[in-house]
């Protein structure tokens, strides 16, 4: 079933541009964040310039968790209401979440090499993040492998919910295990222990990456609606 049948066929929904002003606004804000982090944020004395990777790595991780939480939430509501629009939101969010997790997995080793002296270590935080990435990669492969739309939506909803159960474990892994990964700086009880200039850059990065996620999710959802319409017309 396409998103509510008529919604997928409506020309205004199918033919509107996928990358609209919200995407370009989010992209501009993200570029501004990069400029602030590079040129207007002080260098940390112990770690050196590599510490600035933090302004990309942490917001990407936050957005990845948010994206997979949205997958789980919309999947759970899909299993209840069986509205295909929710399945399309879940699929779109999963794809965007995989992109942000890829950024986490690329920027993490680029920080680890100069600071820890190694690109990768199989500790709880890093390994569970890699598992999360693989689970949602599997989610996308599953969606591509099942032709029946109802079955595809049902199976992927279950996987989407189960995958998100890993998120609290990843967040708490630095407390539960001995890991090389630093303890949370934000997202913990008490005030963040960062100088105000660094904290401002971090908060701006969190806001701009969240906006970028919302814009990418919106664009990817529009593409999903187009594809559902194409699939529906092929079935007719």
């Amino acid at each position: 079933m396409p998103p509510s049948g008529n919604a997928a066929r409506a020309p205004s929904r199918v033919h509107r541009p996928v990358l609209d002003w919200t995407f370009w606004a989010a992209a501009a804000l993200t570029c501004a964040t990069f400029v602030r982090a590079v040129a207007f944020t002080p260098v940390e004395a112990t770690q050196g310039p590599a510490q600035k990777i933090f302004y990309v790595h942490l917001p990407a991780a936050w957005v990845a968790f948010l994206a997979f939480f949205i997958v789980a939430l919309t999947s759970a509501i899909y299993l209840w209401l069986r509205d295909e629009r929710l399945d399309l939101v879940a699929a779109s969010s999963a794809e965007v979440g995989v992109v942000f997790t890829t950024v986490v997995l690329v920027t993490g080793p680029l920080w680890g090499r100069p600071v820890w002296g190694t690109w990768w270590t199989w500790d709880a935080r890093l390994t569970s993040t890699l598992f999360l990435w693989l689970i949602y990669l599997g989610y996308l492969v599953l969606r591509g492998a099942v032709d029946d739309r109802a079955m595809r939506a049902r199976f992927s909803a279950v996987l989407g919910i189960l995958g998100a159960l890993l998120i609290p474990f990843i967040h708490l892994s630095v407390y539960l295990f001995r890991t090389l990964h630093p303890m949370p700086i934000v997202g913990k009880p008490g005030r963040p222990n960062l100088p105000s200039e660094m904290l401002t850059t971090l908060l701006l990065a969190l806001a701009s990456f969240t906006l970028l996620y919302a814009a990418m999710l919106r664009a990817r959802y529009r593409l999903a609606v187009q594809r559902a319409a194409l699939e529906q017309e092929g079935a007719d």
Binding site: V14, A27, V38, K52, T102, V103, L110, L223, R227, G234
Partner: protein, 46 residues
């Protein structure tokens, strides 16, 4: 202070490249899907 700016430049370039390529892939897939839809509808009319 250690001189490791190459790593952070690499991280920022990698992140920008990943986001840009993904946005381009959405645009490209939407363009292809729209043209397939149009071709299908023109085929139905003729």
């Amino acid at each position: 202070m250690p001189d490791n700016s190459g790593y952070y430049h690499a991280a920022y370039i990698a992140a920008a490249a990943i986001y840009s390529l993904y946005a381009a892939s959405i645009w490209w897939r939407a363009r292809r899907t729209a043209s397939d839809l149009l071709a299908g509808r023109e085929g139905d009319r003729s």
